[in-house]
């Protein structure tokens, strides 16, 4: 019996129905609903006998099939046949739609198979960056420590300011870029001067982090607990946001 092997392969009720249609060479546009319902229920029974877990969707479909079957048995009104919807219509549409994608899935499977035979480069190792010149690069931990003192500072001032408009990280990045265009370095704490709203400080902090990530900023200090300075790294091969060479 090939049943057991095949059963577990059905992905859902539509899959099972398509299998039955193919197996019994049924015209999908004119499904003998009594026959297909009987076969379908037979499969579900076997699945249960084998104590396979039958997903709820299979039972929903069983109910649908039985409803269609009973509708088919109702007498048809003479002369109105044209306008009366065939009870099978929706099911057939679903089957046709599903079948297309099942075919597409097989197509993808063969593409996947072909592609798995070839291997792209995996070693995407960026070239080493230039070594740090003075001091050492600070970690996120150091930056968070520094941020902490910024917060302490405003808490002591106990001033509650409202930011006029929501400040974006983008705007902050622009502001920091502008500062660094004028000067080669800036104190970490300096960037927070005049900022009292927490959200604004957070946004500034995030802007600094993002610029460090993007390689636009380097944070260094001469020793732990010393002031943190932010520098512009080497400017030679800088690329702007549009990806066009700029240096």
């Amino acid at each position: 019996m090939t049943y057991q092997v095949r059963l577990v392969q059905f992905e859902g009720p539509l899959d099972l129905l398509l299998h039955l249609i193919r197996r019994d060479k049924i015209n999908i546009y004119d499904i003998p609903i009594s026959h297909i319902t009987r076969e379908y229920l037979g499969y579900i029974e076997i699945m249960q006998e084998l104590e396979l877990e039958v997903a709820g969707e299979f039972f929903v479909m069983a109910a649908t099939l039985m409803r269609i079957k009973s509708q088919m048995l109702l007498p048809r009104h003479e002369g109105f046949e044209e306008e009366e919807a065939d009870p099978r219509e929706e099911l057939v549409r679903n089957l046709l739609e599903y079948r297309k994608f099942k075919e597409a899935a097989h197509h993808l499977a063969s593409k996947e198979e072909d592609r798995r035979k070839v291997f792209p480069r995996t070693a995407a190792t960026p070239p080493a960056e230039e070594p740090a010149d003075e001091g050492f690069e600070v970690s996120l931990y150091d930056l968070l420590e520094a941020l902490q003192s910024v917060f302490k500072n405003i808490n002591q001032q106990a001033v509650y300011h409202v930011v006029p408009d929501s400040v974006t990280v983008e705007q902050k990045i622009e502001a920091i870029r502008a500062t660094l265009a004028r000067r080669s370095e800036v104190l970490f704490t300096e960037l927070f001067i005049g900022e009292f709203a927490k959200i604004e400080i957070i946004v500034t902090f995030l802007a600094i982090l993002e610029m460090i990530k993007l390689g636009e900023l380097v944070a260094r200090q001469m020793s732990h607990a010393a002031d943190i300075w932010l520098y512009k790294p080497g400017v030679d091969s800088y690329i702007d946001a549009n990806g066009s060479p700029n240096g």
């Binding site: 392969q9 992905e11 859902g12 009720p13 539509l14 899959d15 015209n27 999908i28 546009y29 004119d30 997903a55 969707e57 479909m61 065939d86 099978r88 219509e89 057939v92 549409r93 679903n94 046709l96 739609e97 599903y98 079948r99 297309k100 994608f101 099942k102 075919e103 597409a104 899935a105 097989h106 197509h107 993808l108 499977a109 593409k111 996947e112 198979e113 072909d114 592609r115 798995r116 035979k117 070839v118 291997f119 792209p120 480069r121 995996t122 070693a123 995407a124 190792t125 990806g243 066009s244 060479p245």
Partner: protein
């Protein structure tokens, strides 16, 4: 960079830079991107370089070649080395996608952007697990939210989908019509039981983009 010169030296230097870039990249690179990075005067010049490299690899019997995939170009090993390279990656290579995953992926590819509910309406089964797998494999991603109750997430395929399948672009996939025609052996009903698609928009599940 330089003016558009037609000296062989310039061509050769673009070719070498293109080669170095393709070699260093782990993702396909578009011709326009390669042109911008190398300072080549045009994408056409880049394509010439790619053609020249490709011929050279073939003639000199390299173990790799250049393929066009996901809207760009990529170096890959030749299929004939699949055995030996697979041995290298043994145990490390990700499993093939399962049939349910491929089915779901196919639906997303053809109907994107599409919600989970809409996918489930087509497949007739719950798709939570498969969607999570596909997102994890980075072949689909959440691309937005739909209208209606709960503003459902909408899913679309990623660039990595094309790369994973080795497809140049979506035109590389058979059209839905073409897929349907593969079943032409089915006896057509004398009068169509199912009306041509496109004129029922009320079933809530089906997106309306399936007309073509």
């Amino acid at each position: 960079m330089d003016e558009n010169t037609d000296t062989g030296i310039d061509d050769r230097s673009i070719e070498r830079e293109v080669e170095a870039l393709l070699f260093a990249s782990d993702i396909p690179l578009a011709a326009a991107k390669l042109a911008a990075l190398t300072g080549a005067p045009s994408s056409r010049r880049v394509l010439e370089a790619i053609g020249a490299l490709s011929r050279f690899y073939g003639e000199s019997g390299r173990g790799f070649t250049i393929v066009e995939v996901a809207g760009g170009y990529q170096l890959t090993t030749l299929p004939e080395f699949s055995g030996v390279v697979s041995r290298l990656f043994k145990g490390r290579k990700k499993a093939k996608l399962t049939l349910p995953a491929l089915e779901t992926l196919a639906i997303v590819a053809y109907k994107q952007p599409i919600s989970r509910m809409q996918i489930e309406a087509i497949r007739g089964v719950n798709c939570d697990g498969v969607l999570a797998t596909l997102i994890e494999r980075e072949v689909i991603s959440i691309s937005g939210r739909g209208e209606g109750i709960g503003k459902p997430y909408l899913y679309s395929t990623t660039k990595k989908f094309l790369e994973y399948m080795g497809l140049k672009d979506f035109g590389d996939l058979p059209s839905l019509d073409e897929l349907e025609r593969r079943f032409a052996f089915d006896a057509e009903p004398s009068k169509p039981l199912v009306p041509p698609p496109g004129n029922q928009s009320d079933d809530g599940g089906a997106p309306d983009a399936d007309g073509q």
